[in-house]
């Protein structure tokens, strides 16, 4: 297993703190994504625990793009991954952040 952590600044805070959102399942080729409001001084923090070791740069690239699509602030994103492909990771994050922000950009 490997744990990875990413932080992004410059996101927009949400007008009100939405409830915690969880999507996905910790199953083979899949992952769960939990999104929570958190007082992080404007930072969006993503914490990943993944069964597949050695894919840090790919995670970095995927997360960069996710943040570009969903520039959120004061949000903590926690991921438990069992070797999901980047396509599935991106999909789950989009689902989770869409649900979390309720369609707010």
């Amino acid at each position: 297993m490997e744990s990875l952590s990413f932080e992004y600044r410059g996101g927009r805070p949400l007008p009100s703190a939405p409830p915690v959102t969880l999507v996905g399942v910790v199953g083979s080729g899949n992952l769960e994504v939990m999104v929570e409001p958190a007082d992080l001084g404007g930072v969006c923090r993503i914490e990943v625990l993944t069964a597949a070791v050695g894919f840090g740069p790919i995670w970095q690239a995927v997360m960069d793009d996710v943040f570009a699509r969903h520039p959120v602030a004061d949000v903590r994103i926690s991921i438990n991954d069992v070797g999901a492909t980047p396509a599935v990771v991106s999909l789950r994050l989009d689902q989770a952040l869409d649900a979390f922000t309720g369609g707010q950009p």
């Binding site: 910790v26 899949n30 769960e32 069964a51 991954d81």
Partner: protein, 296 residues
């Protein structure tokens, strides 16, 4: 064709099932994922944990009546029971002793004990067993729903039969040792786990219903599961000596009547069902009409 009027229970995750089953907006989760009560044992074995340890527990209403519910997530380690997972189930059942809801619903989907924490899981299942019986003894029905992709085996297979009633779809499976376990240990001649038709006619919903192991057989539709669960809330638990003697007689009768059968088809034929080989392909309403008065 995917029918807009039905919503597959089999396809859903544990959380989706709860949303579809319970009164809209009524579900309140206890120890939600944000509490991060995860299995410490998985981490030590370099295995990813889930924030809810594979089981969602909480309270809600069903048809306006208060219920406590638990839903196992088969997608996470096959719904297997570990220390935290099992303690959540036990705690929920014990909560019923305090709150006295109209019933407890267990949406089971489990391969049994989680091997990564096998001892803790085994003990936890025995605690769940005792808690189920305590809740029933207190007059609160415990209702099992079994229609997920991973079936219900191992200790949870025993737990299910401790409850007041099992509601199954024909996709559901209920047993003790999974076909793969039997094949691995005893050989493919004993049980060919890849022969899916054999697997389903042995442990699938239709056979369980015919044997009387499942009380209700419904279509793979979450609304059908809901309706069945709702109706069973009025079930009065009976764990008296008389009730268990009746069960003993029934199980003895099953052994006598079917003990020499080698295949579900033999049992179905002996139940007086014409063309038993056709049963697997019948849709649920036709099946139910065909087997009326024929159940063991």
């Amino acid at each position: 064709m995917t029918d807009a009027a039905t919503h597959s229970y089999y396809e859903d995750s544990a959380r989706e099932r709860l949303l579809g089953l319970l009164d809209p907006g009524s579900f309140r989760e206890i120890l939600p994922p944000s509490e991060r009560v995860v299995s410490p044992h998985l981490r030590r074995l370099d295995t990813p944990a889930a924030f809810d340890d594979g089981v969602v527990v909480g309270k809600a209403t069903l048809g306006g009546r208060p219920v406590l519910v638990a839903a196992q997530e088969g997608g996470f380690m096959g719904g297997a029971v570990g220390e935290v997972h099992g303690a959540k189930l036990t705690g929920l059942l014990e909560r019923a002793l305090d709150e006295r809801p109209a019933g407890v619903l267990l949406l089971v989907e489990s391969g049994g004990v989680r091997l990564h924490e096998a001892n803790a899981g085994l003990i936890a299942v025995s605690e769940v067993m005792r808690a189920v019986l305590a809740v029933r003894a207190a007059g609160i029905p415990v209702i099992v729903l079994d229609g997920g992709q991973f079936g219900c085996f191992g200790g949870m297979g025993i737990v299910s039969r401790l409850c007041d009633a099992v509601v199954m779809s024909e996709e559901g499976r209920l047993g003790l040792s999974g076909p793969e376990v039997i094949e691995t240990t005893m050989g493919v001649e004993e049980f060919d786990s890849r022969d899916r038709a054999l697997v389903w006619r042995t442990v699938g919903g239709k056979h369980r219903y015919l044997l009387g192991e499942a009380a209700v057989l419904v279509e793979d539709d979450i609304a059908a599961f809901r309706a069945a669960a709702l109706a069973l809330l009025d079930h009065a638990p009976d764990l008296s000596l008389a009730a268990l003697e009746a069960e003993h007689a029934a199980l003895g009768g099953r052994l006598e009547r079917f003990g020499d059968c080698r295949d579900a088809l033999d049992i179905w034929a002996r139940l007086g069902i014409a063309e038993p080989e056709r049963l697997p392909i019948l849709d649920t309403p036709t099946f139910l009409a065909t087997v009326t008065d024929k159940r063991a």
